[in-house]
Symmetry: C2
Subunit: 141 residues, 2 copies
DNA sequence: CTAGTTGCAAACATTTTGCCACTAG
DNA sequence: CTAGTGGCAAAATGTTTGCAACTAG
């Protein structure tokens, strides 16, 4: 995601509006570390005294996703969806099983080797992957 | 998962019962390839003329999971949970974005290298991971 | 017999939809 | 003004629970 002004002006030039909820949500995704759930988004907005209806939040998530500004993240053992700003470096998540904090991680060595092996052994052409690590963060060890 | 007779006799010896639904579900998990959703399980049982109520299926899934016979699998972009027989070799899934088929894959080279790197660079101690590959299966390419 | 199991209906959690009112540009 | 947006309530999904009835061993 680019900076907020750029995003807003691109939206405006296509006829979309810079409403309070929309700009708040874009700001939120630019600031927040790690993927956020709809529930978390709503409680953050509440703390900022932004008034909203949950249907609006879900609709805005769809809107931002369709425009490629955010992307879905699904974590193991969680019910709902999470969302994070898109166009970040390709990364994965470190999920602490104790304190539940989620950190981003960029691997030095990605999975090309494994993906090539998959192609050679099965003929399956890998287009993407999701990889989440569960464990104990430094503070919880 | 061991063979059905062993499982049933272990359950019996602990006071649990070998009911129609339970044995059908254990058989199903032994047979089915790839992780199954509650919905899929129910439609397979229906075809086998096993009568059931959905609450029973969900309760049985909890039971089998707590006993370590099955484990949860969560796929990206899917709403619900899936389950697969536990105690298989550690493996991942190949999800065809076209035909939606899910195949198991055992990697020759697992992720130790990446996990060591994570520990060195962040202090996060990896205990497990989930890794799913999206792409095109041989038939759909 | 009786603890384990089931069915049923209702509650839950999360997300989506229809419809009409509202407002940014 | 008017297309895009928001609020509200209800529907749709997927899963869980309370409770009384049933049944395997």
């Amino acid at each position: 995601m680019k900076d907020i002004e750029t995003i807003i002006s691109e939206l405006s030039s296509e006829g979309f509006r810079a409403t309070k909820i929309r700009t708040s949500m874009i700001e939120l995704f630019l600031k927040v570390k790690g993927p956020a759930s709809a529930h978390e988004i709503m409680s953050i907005l509440s703390k900022k005294k932004v008034r909203f209806n949950k249907a609006t939040i879900y609709r805005e998530l769809v809107f931002l996703k369709e425009r490629g500004l955010i992307q879905e993240v699904r974590l193991p053992h969680e019910r709902g969806m999470r969302f994070e700003a898109a166009h970040q470096a390709h990364h994965h998540h470190l999920i602490c099983v104790n304190c539940k904090k989620i950190a981003d991680i960029v691997l030095q060595k990605e999975l090309e080797e494994q993906e090539n092996e998959i192609y050679r052994s099965t003929g399956f052409q890998v287009l993407g992957h999701t990889l989440e690590f569960m464990g104990l963060c430094q503070g919880c060890r």
